[in-house]
């Protein structure tokens, strides 16, 4: 009753509301069609968003990095100091981390052994996250060890590890990374530890984002590699990210397409229902016209009926999609609250908007037909 009194000031809307109440089952079924359409559009859209966010999260910071190693046509066994300087020149604000690497076996006090890869570099904090101890911007002495390795061998902060006959104190424990790049035992030492190795094995550039990484990769490629020569091999995951993004975008469009089809089906159902109900009420509408109700007023009344179906269906559909979104994010990302992000909420609004638009569009023809039916013909039945 409160809805009716609020709409009292709009006679077309009020009449529409009453008319829909006359055949509740028909109204409910027509609305159900719209609900299904909205749920199809909105929840498929939200599922797409969830997939995309999940893929991006899995790729982690890897997409922001560029890795440079000596190429096939390099005259040296690795990346030279001059080349590193050149890269620094091209990298702008991005951190440039030249690295030397090797492998070794670490032995614990009780004789347990573990194979680790050794990375010698200076700019430790640019590449690693440390869960305990410190994470020096410039690693001049001491060592960092992956947390899991330390646990396995019973090493603690401050314990010495031996490499190439020299002892290094463990200053920090590296957090095991999630994502593709993580895992593996790693010992990080100052560059001096591998001083006898003349060239760098690789240079990692950490950019602010994927786009910047791609730009830097392209710049290096253009500068050092002439024609088909590959002096330096430049690897960037930004392009991988782009490929994944474009695949997911296509997938999203396909999902939206499927959703739209169900909304088209729903609006055909609305067209049918509206047409049926105006034909049934032909005499009644004739009476309205006879007693002086204008054509535009009849038109608005029937359009309002269609709009009501759309609004009710849209609201219910958006609510159901929201629930579906909670489940999807819980399953894919383990965090249902992510559904509140604009990216997914957007699809609820799109679904709702489409529902109202499609319903009003479907109502146009029946409304126009009813409004322009000559009253004499309509009254004759």
């Amino acid at each position: 009753m409160s809805i009716t009194s609020a709409l009292w000031r709009f006679p077309s809307v009020q009449m529409a509301w009453r008319n829909l109440g006359r055949n509740r089952i028909r109204t409910a079924l027509a609305t159900l069609g719209i609900v299904i359409g909205v749920v199809a559009i909105a929840s498929l859209g939200i599922a797409g968003v969830a997939l995309q966010q999940q893929a991006t999260a899995n790729l982690g910071t890897l997409a922001d990095e560029v890795t440079v190693t000596a190429g096939e046509d390099s005259t040296t066994e690795g990346v030279t100091e001059e080349q590193v300087e050149e890269i620094r020149g091209l990298a702008g604000d991005a951190a440039v981390v030249p690295k030397k690497s090797n492998r070794t076996t670490l032995t614990s006090r009780d004789g347990q052994e573990a194979r680790v890869s050794v990375t010698a570099l200076t700019e430790a904090s640019a590449l690693y996250d440390v869960s305990a101890g410190d994470n020096p911007d410039r690693l001049q002495s001491g060592a960092l060890l992956t947390n899991s390795t330390a646990t396995q061998l019973g090493f603690e902060l401050g314990d010495p590890v031996e490499y190439d006959g020299r002892l290094y104190r463990i200053r920090g424990l590296i957090e095991s990374q999630s994502g593709f790049g993580g895992g593996g035992n790693e010992l990080v030492l100052p560059l001096s530890a591998l001083a006898e190795q003349q060239y760098y094995d690789s240079v990692t550039i950490v950019a602010a984002d994927g786009q910047e990484a791609q730009r830097i990769a392209d710049a290096i490629e253009a500068r050092v590699n002439e024609d088909d020569e590959e002096v330096l091999s430049v690897t960037s995951f930004a392009s991988v990210q782009e490929n994944i993004d474009s695949f997911l975008n296509t997938l999203n469009l396909a999902l939206l397409g499927i959703g739209s089809i169900s909304l088209v089906v729903a609006s055909v159902a609305i067209l049918n229902v509206m047409l049926m109900s105006t034909i049934e009420r032909r005499g009644e509408i004739g009476v309205l016209r006879a007693v002086g109700i204008r054509r535009g007023e009849v038109l608005r009344m029937i359009l309002a009926e269609a709009a009501f179906l759309g609004v009710i269906g849209g609201v219910v559909g958006a609510a159901v999609s929201f629930a579906v979104g909670l489940v999807v994010f819980q399953v894919l990302a383990g965090d249902p609250t992510l559904v509140f992000g604009w990216e997914s909420i957007r699809y609820l609004l799109i679904g709702f908007g489409f529902a109202v638009f499609a319903s009003v569009l479907s109502g146009l023809y029946p409304a126009w037909k009813a409004a322009n039916d000559p009253p004499v013909e309509a009254l004759r039945g």
Partner: protein, 221 residues
């Protein structure tokens, strides 16, 4: 001056090859405070003539005058405005809207006039036709005679000059028909309106001021 006037009105219907001439040059007029009854055999053109008077349909030939103004060539939208302000309809089949109460049905013709609130007049009219205790009943909760009285109140809501009734007692028994006729006669005087009624009902002749006999699309004198 007559409220409504038909002059040489001809109405032809094209149905397939055949042309049916439902009205063959009818002259007619009705004045305020007068009840005119139109009688005639089935198919003689009574309803067709009433539609012309009610501005629901336009003649093929001839002139329709409302309050002395020629409305023959009015557009549908102009005719709608005239119907709204000047004419009230009562139908044989009542034609009340089932989802509205008696009061709302009476208010219906003025419903889209948000500037004027006709609620009080609707209640007053219902009380005058003896339905003061049925204000919020829906049509399905009313008898045929009660429904027709709601329809009469609805026809009067916009203070019309003419009330048109096509077989208003056709769906009612004799006694109920009589009360409706008494109602109409009383309202005719109270509201000073012209009533034009089409009927087969012999009782009408008692209450009517003038009888117009229509035979085969022509007025018999």
């Amino acid at each position: 001056m007559s409220v409504i006037e038909l002059e040489g009105v001809v109405k032809r219907y094209q149905s397939g090859e055949e042309v049916i001439e439902a009205l063959k040059g009818v002259d007619f007029h009705a004045d305020r405070g007068e009840m005119v009854t139109v009688i005639g055999p089935s198919g003689s053109g009574k309803s067709t003539m009433l539609n012309m008077i009610g501005l629901l349909d336009t003649p093929t030939e001839g002139t329709v005058r409302l309050d002395g103004r020629d409305v023959t060539n009015f557009t549908e939208d102009e005719l709608t405005e005239e119907r709204r302000s000047t004419i009230g309809f009562v139908f044989q089949a009542f034609h009340l809207l089932p989802m509205l109460t008696a009061t709302e049905n009476v208010e219906l013709p003025s419903m889209w006039d948000t500037k004027r609130d006709r609620h009080d007049r609707a209640v007053d009219l219902l009380q005058r036709v003896g339905l003061g205790d049925r204000l919020s009943h829906t049509p399905s909760q009313l008898s045929g005679g009660q429904q027709q009285r709601v329809a009469i109140a609805r026809a009067l809501i916009n203070e019309p000059e003419i009330l048109l009734a096509d077989e208003p007692t056709g769906n009612l028994d004799q006694d109920t028909g009589r009360t409706i006729l008494e109602e109409l006669t009383r309202l005719k005087e109270e509201e000073n309106i012209a009533i034009v009624a089409v009927t087969h009902d012999e009782q009408f002749v008692e209450y009517t001021d003038r009888v117009v006999r229509l035979v085969d699309g022509e007025v018999q004198s």
